[in-house]
């Protein structure tokens, strides 16, 4: 007759190994994807001792990864505003950005085309992603458009589109009844870590963080003092701007956007690098800024740019089938 201490000893030895094997098994298998969330519950029985003795039962719940993640009533919504325009790499850029956004819970993608009307390419792409989205379009007037391919900072690309998104938010959402939210302006050629989206989620007014590869530097960043307050800007290019920060370097609480309906990006008479300031100075002061990313010491977003592809072999008349969408 096994003694009680033998049974206890066996359970104490076997149980950790059972748990360890269960955890290893769970991590070794990447969860399957599906469009709907599925929760599987698995019971794992292990008869690890003498027959009829010391049966260990482990109940394990396995979450199947869904894309995008299920909506939560608790998490603030991230309203990600992306202006976009037609060019050969557009579909590739939007595909890549969508692949990132698909990981982020409670995300609403506000995609605004610089076009007289919404294009089929973007419409189809958005539908196929399964993301929560709003698709808008507004064409930049000719006298504001970039000439040729020059990235002339005096002409603020995307401004009209971002302003349309702000207007849509104000006309659609109610400051009193809407789910809490945060607004972020995400250009379609930057690179965003998933961590960035969680950092911005707690924004109370305006939060800020470093951005890599802007201003001719490895990164630009807000200067943060020992009290956790922003007091200046680590930048070479015009550091005395009210907000010497890139578009990718801040997020705004939705309530602030809705409660200050006159605040927009300024379109006319804006010097290069001042577009962000033209909006932020209507909303917040320097001392109100909330530093994120470990007090602005971590890089979570990169101002990458995609090369213009060489298409010389298409020739004047075009070589490839125009019906194949790129």
């Amino acid at each position: 007759m096994p003694k009680r201490r033998d049974i206890v000893a066996i359970v104490l030895i076997v149980l950790p190994w059972t748990l360890l094997i269960t955890v290893w098994h769970q991590n070794a298998i990447t969860p399957l994807l599906s469009d709907a969330t599925q929760i599987k519950t698995e019971k794992h029985k292990c008869d690890c001792s003498s027959p009829g003795r010391g049966i260990v039962e482990v109940v394990r719940t396995e979450y199947v990864y869904s894309r995008p993640p299920p909506w939560s009533d608790i998490l603030p919504t991230l309203h990600v505003v992306t202006p976009t325009y037609s060019r050969p790499v557009q579909k590739a850029e939007l595909t890549r950005l969508a692949n990132t956004l698909l990981h982020v819970p409670n995300l609403h993608w506000l995609l605004v085309e610089d076009a007289p009307k919404r294009t089929k390419l973007v419409s189809r792409l958005l539908q196929d992603t399964g993301l929560n989205y709003t698709h808008l379009s507004v064409e930049t007037p000719r006298n504001y458009k970039v000439r040729g391919d020059t990235r002339d900072p005096r002409i603020p690309r995307g401004t009209i589109q971002r302003n349309l998104a702000l207007r849509w938010l104000r006309e659609t959402l109610n400051v009193n009844t809407s789910q809490p939210g945060v607004v972020y302006f995400a250009d379609d050629d930057n690179t965003y870590s998933l961590e960035l989206f969680e950092e911005m989620r707690s924004t109370k007014r305006v939060s800020v963080w470093p951005v890599a590869f802007v201003g001719g530097l490895r990164y630009e960043a807000p200067k943060v003092n020992s009290l956790g307050k922003v007091f200046g800007w680590k930048t070479v290019f015009d550091p005395h701007r009210p907000f010497a920060i890139d578009m990718a370097g801040f997020a705004i609480n939705l309530r602030l956007i809705l409660s200050k309906p006159q605040a927009y990006f300024k379109l006319r008479g804006v010097k290069g690098g001042y577009q962000e300031s033209s909006l932020l100075k209507e909303l917040v002061t320097l001392g109100d800024l909330e530093p994120k990313a470990a007090n602005c010491t971590k890089i979570l977003v990169w101002h990458t740019r995609t090369e213009k592809p060489v298409l010389v072999n298409e020739g004047k008349k075009g070589f490839s089938d125009v019906n194949v969408e790129i």
Binding site: N27, A28, I29, T30, P31, L32, L33, R67, P88, V89, K91, A92, E93, T95, R96, L97, A98, N99, T100, L102, H103, T191, L194, P210, A212, F213, G215, G216, L217, R218, Y219, A221, K234, V236, F237, T297, K298, I299, W302, H303, T304, R305, T306, E307, P309, V310, L311, V312, N313, E314, F319, S320, V324, E325, I326
Partner: protein
């Protein structure tokens, strides 16, 4: 995962879309010091190993891809046959753009599957030409007489084929544009190729390239000993 700024940038580019994180049963081998990545769709965990500095006289990435092939062959030798040979090998450079659908398309590759690649070869896209479900030629604007005028991103190879041809690898001495052919000609013939992406009518991968970031102000500051904090990983 990486230590130097340059390598961080390269690897981050690959994770730009977190594309791979959507894929189940994905094993990813990353060669350090390099742009190219070999992906093998199996149930295994993440592996990472280091390759010495590349020989810049050879096309970029050859040594790294071959190292990945070598690793696969050695690793699989330890687990003989059966399920361990189920898998697909795909060469995914870190600055391209991949749709999620692409990975589904390649999953049932028997030998070598192929599809169009956007924005490559100075064209909107290059593509195999398909007739009757078979590849009969290639739509390309540059050196169409190559055995396989296809970009590295435009094909995947079954792991079984890689393992059953232990000498097949990339030839670093191959002329420009012939690198892919140097591997494929030892593995498959044109009519054995399996067209994907709706008989090669859809573009599911793009040969995008990221601009080199402009850091003139950084360089000027560094010359004065005032460069940005190197401890901040970019």
């Amino acid at each position: 995962m990486v230590s130097r700024t340059f390598k961080t940038f390269e690897v981050t580019e690959f994770n730009k879309s977190s594309t791979l994180e959507h894929e189940p049963f994905l094993k990813c081998i990353i060669s350090m010091n390099s742009a190219p990545v070999i992906i093998c769709l199996t149930c295994d965990a993440f592996h990472c190993f280091s390759q010495g500095d590349p020989n810049w006289l050879k096309p970029r990435g050859v040594e790294q891809r071959n190292e990945g092939l070598r690793w696969l062959r050695e690793h699989r030798r330890a687990s003989l046959g059966g399920a361990s040979e189920q898998g697909i090998v795909y060469f995914a450079d870190d600055d391209n753009t991949y749709s999620l659908q692409l990975f589904q398309e390649m999953r049932n590759t028997q030998k070598v599957s192929v599809w169009p690649v956007g924005l490559v070869g100075s064209m909107k896209y290059e593509s195999p030409m398909v007739k009757g479900g078979k590849v009969v030629g290639f739509h390309t604007g540059w050196r169409p007489s190559r055995p396989f005028p296809i970009d590295m991103a435009g094909f995947a190879v079954s792991l079984h084929l890689i393992l059953s041809h232990p000498d097949a690898c990339f030839d670093g001495d191959a002329p420009q544009g012939f690198l892919e052919s140097s591997l494929l000609h030892g593995l498959v013939t044109m009519d054995e190729l399996e067209p994907r992406a709706d008989n090669c009518t859809k573009v599911l991968v793009w040969h995008t390239r990221t601009e080199k970031p402009k850091m003139k102000r950084e360089e000027a500051l560094q010359a004065q000993g005032l460069g940005s904090d190197p401890a901040v990983e970019v």
